[in-house]
Symmetry: C2
Subunit: 203 residues, 2 copies
Amino acid sequence: MRIGVLGTGMVGRALSGKLAELGHDVKVGSRTEGDGAIVFADAAAHGEIVFNCTAGAASIDALAAAGAEHLAGKPLIDVANPLDFSGGGPALFTDTTDSLGERIQAAFPDARVVKALNTINCNLMVEPASVPGDHVVFVCGNDAAAKEQAAGLLAEFGWTAERVIDLGDITAARGTEHYVILWLRLMSSVGGPNFNIALATAG
Amino acid sequence: MRIGVLGTGMVGRALSGKLAELGHDVKVGSRTEGDGAIVFADAAAHGEIVFNCTAGAASIDALAAAGAEHLAGKPLIDVANPLDFSGGGPALFTDTTDSLGERIQAAFPDARVVKALNTINCNLMVEPASVPGDHVVFVCGNDAAAKEQAAGLLAEFGWTAERVIDLGDITAARGTEHYVILWLRLMSSVGGPNFNIALATAG
């Protein structure tokens, strides 16, 4: 599959590397060309599916540079978090009635936004077996078919269907993005980013 | 142990009932007397440990009515969440740089606030075995001895030591309180409140 990955940070590198290893035709987009990266618009135009791996505070601008016409009709898998380090500590620039996922969907209404993978470290995203147990990832979005396509790629990483929790429409991104505040505390308690959560249910 | 439980809602009833069943000398405080409840101040004065089970939006006022002098020096286990339903949907009235736990500690500096149990349904709080698996509860607070006393009561409920995750000082309440936004979405996906999360670590 032709996949465009926007962002050349740790998340973009982890995802693009794994997707290429799995045999996909991957192009990585950056604000400027260089180091093997092409510009956002060329990567987005290339992809049948596009991953947003840019920093949350820069995501709307990056996606605008990618071009709404290159996102229209495509699953846009949003991995970013609305993190704000300007105040010293980690915080979100959204409140609990809002999310980056929703802002992206509103700004690019013809894209089929799926929020996913933003609750775990980038190494774990693409190698779920590196942490034992049936820990989970979350997806949400307004387009059921786009969520299925995202789940298909997640399955290629090793996230079997029962470990992909569908939280509903894109407003559920409020939940997964705000969980990141707990994740950051857990990282300190656990002693590193190689952890995740599993669901325990009564049934 | 003499325990004061502030709040006669579902959480206060679940906790006071279980604590009494375990043999503790429990008094339940309410804004007004009646239905077996005494006023907040009498319940707080009674307790060697005090539980805040009032609604988050009313907690500071309820604790003021309980009296700072009746909280001073005592573990104050804060189970409340800063939920705000005024906008229609569930939201928090705090942002990610703040928490109800911190506000309570700041308002009652002589209390030894421990945030705990606010990430699960009240039935599960006192009957962890009702959901299979090694799912966890979180504690945080500035006073290590108070956290140990809280963990002692949690152990009586069935939360063994390895299932009580210490997230550090009271600012970690930002994490557990904001997790509630994800919890509410999970409740919809799971189909009810009888679930929790377990930690999966690299080992």
